[in-house]
């Protein structure tokens, strides 16, 4: 087991190298050079050159890459061009807010998905099954940023019961566990959870249904086991597949939150990324992308290892 985890971690090294290359390339995909955003167009060439030298943009690309990599590995993600603050600090504070929202949406989506999926698989009547299939189809088809707007229209504009944006009441400095802050979380959480809800419901339904048709279930029934005890066996067998899909969805949720955070002005990484794009703040863009991709990789690794741990049938050779 430990050996497997180590090997997976080792395998992550070349991928991480590729990711760093891609993130580094982001800055050079940008039209013009990276500092043109901060230098007024009529500035003398000396200023331009000085800044290029200061940021190291005058060196050849491979040199720039390895210098950037060396600095990045120490945890220094550079300085924001827009605010002059270190990128690492900006990303760290935003990342916390994103994670809070992501955890809430994940919990909500997964518990609901397990309930819906299981009841659809168990349903004797076609109506329940159809309804759940319908819900999961809606979940994967709805543009979630549009749903966010609709939620704001219904609950904030029309009914006025929930706040339309922000992380907490005015003059709130950060997230706290109290009712006013939780109230601000409700709408973004729902909007963020629709996609994973759709995908996971679909998976749970098909996996549970498949497990139910297995012979051991018939054997347990023949043995006279109570239904709720059989359910436990079924869920245990369906868990690994569902877990894998859930893990992927949890990771994708963090990417998807960019749009939701923008709609709700939620001060997370997505909001940061979006504002960085419009200020042409490339260090922030680069830093945020790197941190999110790194997190996504680790999450996938964790899910993979957990899956191997809970499912003895998987033999990784």
């Amino acid at each position: 087991m430990l050996l497997y985890a180590l090997r997976r971690l080792l395998y992550l090294v070349p991928v991480a190298f590729g990711v760093s290359l891609l993130v580094f390339a982001l800055v050079h995909l940008a039209p013009g050079d990276p500092i043109s955003a901060i230098v007024p167009p009529d500035a003398p060439h000396e200023v331009d050159d000085k800044l290029k030298e200061y940021y190291g943009f005058d060196k050849p690309l491979p040199v720039q890459y390895f210098r950037w990599l060396a600095v990045t590995l120490t945890g220094d993600l550079g300085t924001s061009i827009g605010t002059g603050r270190p990128v690492a600090a900006e990303v760290a504070s935003a990342f916390g807010n994103t994670i809070i929202l992501a955890i809430a949406a994940t919990l909500f989506a997964f518990s609901l998905a397990v309930f819906l999926g299981t009841s659809a698989a168990y349903a004797k009547s076609r109506i329940v099954d159809r309804l759940v299939t319908m819900i999961s189809l809606m979940g994967v088809s709805v543009p979630h940023f549009w749903l966010a707007i609709v939620l704001v229209i219904v609950f904030s504009v029309e009914m006025g019961v929930l706040p339309p944006m922000g992380i907490g009441p005015e003059n709130s400095t950060g997230w706290r566990l109290d009712w006013p802050h939780l109230k601000h979380m409700i709408l973004p959480t729902i909007a963020l959870s629709v996609i994973p809800l759709g995908v996971v419901t679909r998976t749970v339904r098909s996996t549970v249904k498949e497990t139910l048709s297995m012979e051991f279930v018939t054997a347990l029934q023949a043995k006279g086991m109570r239904d709720d005890q059989i359910l436990r066996h079924v869920l245990k067998n369906a868990a690994p597949t569902c877990l894998a899909v859930m893990g992927l969805q949890a990771g994708n949720l963090i990417g998807g939150s960019i749009l939701i955070e923008t709609v709700f002005a939620w001060p997370g990484t997505g909001f940061l990324l979006n504002s960085a794009i419009f200020r042409r703040d490339l260090p922030i863009l680069q830093g945020t992308t790197l941190v999110l991709a790194g997190f996504f990789m680790l999450l996938n690794l964790t899910v993979d290892i957990i899956q191997t741990m809970v499912d003895p049938r998987i033999k990784r050779g």
Binding site: L29, S141, P143, E158, T241, V245, G255, I258, L259, I277
Partner: protein, 301 residues
């Protein structure tokens, strides 16, 4: 988004071990099954309507979607001169929604098509050649898989700047890896069948084997998978425009319209939600059609 669902499982379920000669009766039977599937037929009809009306938009006698009018801003739905009201600059909403389909559909379908060509070619090559080539191609794809797809699309578009071409480019890049992965795993399975060995033993060149024996068996599953990506692509493209990273104003496009109409949610909320309804309808239809196609092609003959 759903594009990182367990693609390999889907691919495995889709492969049918059929030989090249048996596929003569296959497509007609798929067509027969599709004709008996009312849901798929209705969705295809709706999509056809949306596609045709957006293509033929200039011929429909609609109002000018670019003509602004400061005194006619944000007319409600059902106004006599403007059936679906007017937007924040007084442009006719009905015309803009119809015209909007042109860019929105294009931006959803085009990247998937491009990715299908590139990713499919890469995946089939990787699966057929195997060994080091497979290793090289698939490890590069793994790098792209290390990003959540939405993040990758937004970061790429954000770095390259707004614009239709840049959006197309970044979306294509996002969809190449999943298509490549499915193509690779399907091809690897087909390569293991006896008829491939038989063809090789009879002296067929690699290219002939791919063209005659492999392509016919892998194209179906790959196509089905690609159609399931179209709805994701439409939502993602609209999302990019919504963030201001895709189509630039004043072009009519559903995502962009959602963005610019956000300021109107206190004045005319129903109007502000309309473009999203169009995205929702097309995306649902593409999803249902993809499901129908999968069901029609998946059955073991």
């Amino acid at each position: 988004m759903a594009i990182q669902s367990p693609t390999v499982d889907i691919a495995a379920a889709l492969v049918r071990p059929t030989v090249a000669s048996a596929s003569r009766g296959y497509w007609p039977s798929v067509g027969r099954r599709l004709r008996r599937d009312p849901v798929t037929l209705i969705c295809a009809g709706v999509l056809l309507l949306v596609v045709l009306s957006s293509i033929a938009a200039p011929l429909l006698g609609l109002a000018d979607p670019y003509k602004t009018s400061m005194i006619r801003r944000l007319y409600p739905l059902g106004s006599p001169s403007h059936l679906l009201g007017t937007d924040e600059l007084g442009r006719d909403m009905f015309a803009r929604l119809i015209y909007g389909g042109r860019l929105s559909l294009f931006m959803g379908v085009m990247p998937v098509l491009c990715a299908l060509l590139i990713g499919g070619a890469l995946g089939i090559t990787a699966g057929f050649v195997g060994g080091k080539v497979n290793m090289a191609i698939m490890r590069v794809m793994d790098v792209f898989y290390a990003f959540p797809s939405v993040l990758l699309a937004i970061s790429l578009s954000g770095a390259m700047g707004a614009g239709t071409e840049n959006t197309l480019l970044s979306l294509t890049l996002v969809f190449i890896p999943p298509i490549c992965r499915v193509s690779e795993s399907v091809t690897t399975q087909v390569r293991g069948f006896d008829f491939v060995d038989a063809a090789r033993a009879s002296g067929a060149s690699a290219l002939t084997i791919v063209r005659v024996h492999v392509l016919g068996n892998v194209l179906g599953p790959i196509l089905v998978y690609a159609t399931s990506l179209i709805s994701v692509a439409i939502i993602l493209a609209a999302g990019l425009s919504f963030l201001g990273l895709g189509v630039k104003p004043p072009e009519p496009e559903w995502g962009l319209m959602l963005n610019t109409l956000r300021q109107a949610i206190y004045v005319n909320p129903v109007l502000a939600a309309l473009p999203g309804v169009m995205i929702f309808i097309t995306s649902i239809c593409f999803n249902l059609m993809s499901d129908g196609l999968r069901a029609a092609m998946d059955v073991k003959a």
